[in-house]
Symmetry: C2
Subunit: 343 residues, 2 copies
């Protein structure tokens, strides 16, 4: 498989750091860090995530969206390990001349995100510096000590998404194409799938959120489990409607809406075939309709169905293209389109 550029940096940063004997997961194995709580059978989940790139590139401008996302990106990692939300701490670096109305908007977004996820704001740190930087750390609890991770999927397991995908890329593309923006209003305020994650702990063999887009998520799950994925449902059927419409408007295949590094915070997960009926019945009882995408395979690689035709995607290469294009979005899309092969 193609090496992932981001992994190389993370592995370099982590090299030589002492690890805790209490930690259950190794690098890349779960969306949140998992720590056995001494003297109990419980596991603490902790995750930290910042919004640096989204702010520096102007992808997020509305302060309410920024506050919402600061909570949601972290809550989504707790969802992917099936944790019960405990609380969140915020680290806000603000310019000394920050507009007070911007702070009001930010806090309204944080408050809404906190209420939606049950992650009470426990405290934080405030710093002054010319460049805005917002990070948060969320804590969750897994009382029975059995978290979901990215690892455990076997060939034959059934691949699902918690909901339709592609909204993250659609939102990002619209910010970059202002001429399309007023023709196509799009509400981007993704919700962390916390209830669904907790339900999944009883059924799923692996789980990961689509914070980096569905292709990156599929790629990571394949790497962690040494499996491939054969998607049997046509891409348009699991792509959200605004993403399909937008892709058509700019003359792209809808699969491209899953390739970008900005996702929608749904969950991708696999269910062993024998547990599928019980899982679906349980999901139905909470009013949730997961999307069945396909199956894990012994053969490596990702196969999609595009307008009725099978196609393969080098998911590792797709993950690296954004870095390779050095932020040039036209070049990036040009590179992307060449990456799908129709046999």
């Amino acid at each position: 498989m193609t090496d992932v550029l981001e992994h190389a940096l993370i592995e370099r940063l982590a090299a030589g750091l002492p690890r805790s004997a209490l930690q259950l997961n190794a690098l890349h194995e779960s969306d949140a860090e998992l720590l056995r709580l001494p003297g109990t059978g419980m596991v603490l989940a902790v995750t930290t995530d910042g919004l640096a790139e989204e702010l520096a590139t102007g992808l997020y401008r509305d302060p309410e969206l920024i506050g919402w996302m600061l909570v949601t990106v972290n809550a989504s990692d707790l969802a992917a390990v099936g944790a019960e939300p405990l609380g969140i701490v915020l680290c806000e670096t603000l310019p000394p001349d920050v507009d007070p109305s911007w702070i009001v908007g930010l806090q309204a977004g944080v408050r809404a995100g906190s209420a939606a996820t049950g992650l009470a704001v426990l405290g934080g740190d405030t710093n002054m510096s010319p460049t805005t930087n917002l990070t948060a750390t969320a804590l969750g609890l897994i009382r029975d000590g059995r978290p979901l991770t990215r690892c455990g999927c076997a060939p034959g397991d059934v691949l699902f998404a918690s909901g339709s995908l592609g909204l993250g890329s659609a939102f990002a593309l619209l910010q970059l194409k202002p001429e399309l923006k007023h023709a196509m209003p799009l509400a981007y305020r993704p919700a962390a799938r916390l209830c669904e994650g907790r339900l999944l702990r009883g059924y799923a063999s692996c789980c990961m959120d689509t914070s980096d887009g569905a292709i990156a998520t599929l790629d990571e799950l394949m790497r962690r489990n040494a499996v491939g994925f054969r998607l049997e449902t046509d891409v348009t059927a699991w792509t959200c409607e605004p993403a399909v419409t937008l892709a058509r408007a700019v003359g792209l295949s809808p699969w491209v809406m899953h390739a970008g590094p900005h996702g929608e915070f749904e969950l991708l997960f696999a269910i062993p075939a024998g547990r599928e009926p019980a899982f679906l019945a349980h999901a139905r009882r909470i009013g949730w309709e997961p999307l069945r995408l396909g199956r894990a395979t012994r053969e490596p690689g990702a196969q999609l169905v595009l307008d009725g035709h099978p196609a393969t995607v080098d998911t590792g290469r797709v993950r690296n293209l954004f870095a390779e294009a050095h932020g040039d979005i036209e070049r990036y899309i040009g590179l992307l389109v060449r990456e799908v092969s129709l046999p």
Copy 2:
């Protein structure tokens, strides 16, 4: 008492945020957030702290010091609540063209800080953005569920420091006065007082670290406990030797070395008079010699002894001067010197 400008911002940021029923402390009441762990008698301590200002102003330049401080500032908050270290997560925002040798230095500092504190690095988040921003969140455990906080001090309690103070200001002043720097090499690599904090849980009525300087710490402890402090030991006796020397070299009274907003991560704490002998005996058994500073008083305000003469300091006003001087260090020192009144 003079209102603290920083409190006003923090209270504005926290306004209207839902709080957790599990949280033991309110705003400003402890150095780390304290959360009851459901189904256990234990308390989880969590604290988040970033290095934005220290990096933006150039106060910290050596990447090894930066990595060390990223761990230490958070570990020190765990020390001040008497927690046992569990682990730390890092959120690193780095410029795309960051020098690889800078990263090597940073990670060496993080590794050394992690080894010194027992805070294993559990994981983190890495972002790319033009401005470097480093934040971390540390977790600790208080197994018996009885943390130290800033609250609980009564008039008559004996005030101590875990060690001599003033190194943080001395270091900051030297960075700003390069002409003095080569004449006076100063090693600034403060250690979090984790062992001392755990010992203090059995004795202290309040505790706080000197991350913002001793005057700010005294001020905060007075506010939380509605007491004053009468320091009976001359300032020079509890000021570290390099800070005394530096103050004399620039013609300032040594008390000024406790006024700056950059501290040395010692602990200030009070011991009820009846527990003092047992506390001192226990401290001696671990080879620790805390410095006895004075007593909490019913009368508000801070009294110092400067070169044998009593003096009062408006600690609240001193905390605000750095913001009032808008970073102009000469103006700041000028304002400071006027703040101490010799009767």
